[in-house]
Amino acid sequence: MKHVLAVLVEDKPGVLTRVAGLFSRRGFNIDNIAVGETVSPGISRMTITVEGSETIVEQVVKQLHKLVNVIKVSNLSDEPSVMRELMLIKVNAEVGSRSDIQQIVETFRGKVVDVSPDSMIIEVTGNEDKMEAIKLLLQHHGIKEIVRTGKVALLRGSRITREHQ
């Protein structure tokens, strides 16, 4: 199963290496990782998607906690939360296929953000399923390049994940 962890870390040099190193040395699989600032100065938030059984994820969480620069770890998969990822897709778009692509993009509430004589860049946001679906539909036009941000997530409602409760 996939688990999405919100990890609050001190914004210190090497903290990303420490987290990534922990995963590789203990044989845990990172699906993706997204890092950015928080409302508290000096604290960054990592959103890490890991694949593994309950016991493995429990070990991941405990081992992350042991890193001195890690302040808090919560498993957002245990709770109602909003998860999003942004993807940019560069797809072949000859004049004849543009309207078909446009339609797909609209259905997925995506955006065309760049057009050139033979290609388009499309921006989509959403969850995993939506990403896979649009990829599938655009496949036959020929996808030239893809880039994804990795998942980010927040708890639903007014509760927040912060450094001290």
Binding site: P13, T17, Q59, H65, K66, V68, V70, K72
Partner: protein, 564 residues
């Protein structure tokens, strides 16, 4: 008024003094010259080793005997990389260390400068934490954090890498031993509800055992352990790292479990209905095949490190906390159960499976186990034993009676050949009033033999007992048992004459080839001043038994050996 300014290097030395450090194990070089220059005027004792690896092992031995962090200085590049084995060793055995390395000047970092090595990168997976200092202003808080991290929670090594220019930078120095780190809050008091469940489990158990490890020693839980065992009449099993936490000669002590553990300890763990695991981490050398481990038992696991609980073995009552604090809480409300029948059963196992043989040589020869038993008998109380890694280590664990915590020093988790001798140097410096014995192998000793110079130079009274079988004995044993006696390179042909070698270093050398010579040599050596090397030429092809093959259930035991 202008604030008084202090140089980085001077800050480091003042901080060490404020932290109660008295001894530094180190080796100088270009990048730490400013630090050594400040040391010139400092009252701190500096022990010059002959290889940086030995500095870490010596500091580690010092830390295991005193419980205080050991301190190491080394230069950048090769000095720093030479530390790595020692750091990994300390990390695996949770030993508190603070290591200070020099680094190339800040402006050169990242340019492959002369003697540059990314030591914070290299040691990331084997330190509890590490720091690369950017400027002298950071030094007071980093030093204070380093000592705090090394010596609290689950102990471990912390490394501070200091660029050469930072030693010379001046900044305001204000030092506080207390510190707070937002992401670091070890739990010391166990959860009250879980403690009640543990008390109930002990009351209800008919066949309980206590299984303790190095955590007992680090937390100073020996007295609490004795009280628990003796009040509730529960037998005690100790891992290699735990030896000494309970006196090795008391009736309730069943020995070490696992691969070379006692038969009774392995049977007891397999048959128990309750295991009270304290400060242990269920290493594979202890559990054998995991699916078959302790299938009949409920397990209470007390440990300071939450990540150890449930890592290898499923736990029924998890208690995160300091082992001593938790055991004391349990003792307050202890209801002993009835263990009479169980103790009788254990007594039967003990009688049916005594340690094999009397270990008699042929008259002209001596067996390694005999030597270790004689060392144990003659060195007796008030001694600290350090071992290296191999057969001699297992024989020491089996036959040397360890009565007190912090008196048995061995490389458990990493199994580092070359650890024992430098660790014994650290131990002797830490406890000059104790008799220090290093039991080493002819292979292991040669991995840090250069430290004879350090021992001679510091006039350290250490008895170095080489169990000389002319083999990498433990390797030969595995090839004997699992590889059809195809002895691929365990023979130590070309070993030096250890007696003359000792003498060349200015130490005393002796040789013993039979039982009588062995006893006489030990008697003579323990009265000597300075380091004494005894070369015990033992029967070469003796194996360590009992033995559980790797990944077999621990009650599937190869009894082996001479049962006379």
């Amino acid at each position: 008024m202008k604030k008084k300014m202090t140089k980085g290097s001077a800050m480091i030395l003042s901080a060490l003094q404020k932290e109660g450090v008295d001894t530094i194990f180190g080796y100088p070089g270009g990048a730490v010259l400013p630090l050594y220059d400040s040391l010139y005027d400092s009252p701190l004792r500096h022990v010059l080793v002959r290889h940086e690896q030995a500095a870490v092992h010596a500091a580690d031995g010092y830390a295991r005997v005193t419980g205080k962090p050991g301190v190491v200085f080394a230069t950048s590049g090769p000095g720093a990389t030479n530390l790595v084995t020692g750091i990994a060793n300390a990390y695996m055995d949770s030993v508190p260390l603070v290591l200070i390395t020099g680094q190339v000047p800040s402006s050169f970092i990242g340019t492959d400068a002369f003697q540059e090595a990314d030591i914070t990168g290299i040691t990331l997976p084997v330190t509890k934490h590490n720091y690369l200092v950017k400027n002298a202003k950071q030094l007071p808080s980093i030093l204070s954090e380093a000592f705090y991290l090394a010596s609290t929670g689950r102990r471990g090594p912390v490394l501070i890498d200091v660029p050469k220019d930072v030693f010379d930078q001046e900044a305001h120095f204000e030092y506080s031993v207390e510190c707070e780190i937002p992401g670091y809050n070890p739990t010391y008091n166990g959860h009250a509800g879980q403690i009640s469940r543990a008390i109930k489990a002990i009351r209800d158990a008919n066949k309980p055992v206590i299984f303790g490890g190095g955590g007992l020693i680090r937390s100073g839980a020996s007295d609490a352990l004795k009280e628990l065992a003796e009040k509730a009449r529960i037998p005690v099993i100790l891992s290699l790292m735990g030896l000494g936490a309970y006196p090795g000669d008391r009736d309730l002590f069943l020995g070490m479990p696992g691969m070379h553990g006692s038969i009774t300890a392995n049977y007891a763990l397999s048959e128990a209905d309750l295991i009270v695991a304290t400060g242990v981490r269920f290493d594979d050398r202890v559990t054998g095949k995991l699916d078959s481990f302790a299938n009949n038992a409920r397990i209470v696991h007390i440990d300071i490190d939450p990540a150890e609980i449930g890592k290898n073995v499923k736990i029924d009552v998890p208690i995160v906390g300091d082992v001593k604090t938790v055991l004391e809480a349990i003792l307050k409300k202890l209801h002993p159960g009835d263990t009479t029948g169980w103790l009788e059963q254990i007594e039967n196992w003990q009688q049916q499976n005594p340690m094999p043989g009397a270990f008699k040589g042929t008259g002209s020869t001596v067996k390694p186990q005999y030597v270790i038993r004689e060392l144990s008998r003659l060195c007796g109380d008030n001694s600290v034993v350090a071992t290296d890694v191999g057969q001699h280590q297992m024989w020491t664990a089996q036959h040397f009676i360890i009565r007190e915590p912090q008196t048995f020093i061995t490389s458990g988790g990493l199994g580092t050949m070359g650890y024992g001798f430098p660790a014994s140097i650290g131990a002797k410096i830490a406890a000059p009033g104790k008799r220090v014995v290093c039991i080493t192998g002819d292979g292991s000793f040669q991995m840090n033999i250069q430290e004879l110079a350090t021992a001679v130079n510091n006039r350290l009274d250490i008895t170095i007992a080489i169990i000389n079988n002319s083999y990498l004995g433990m390797v030969r044993q595995w090839q004997d048992i699992f590889y059809d006696k195809r002895y691929a390179h365990p023979l130590l042909e070309g070993n030096p004459d250890f007696v003359r070698l000792a003498e060349a270093f200015g130490a005393k050398g002796m040789r013993a080839r039979n039982e009588q010579e062995a006893t006489e040599a030990i008697e003579q050596a323990i009265g000597e001043k300075g380091p004494v090397v005894i070369d015990f030429v033992v029967e070469p092809e003796e194996n360590v038994y009992p033995m559980v093959a790797p990944n077999r259930p621990i009650n599937d035991i190869i009894i082996g050996g001479d049962r006379s």
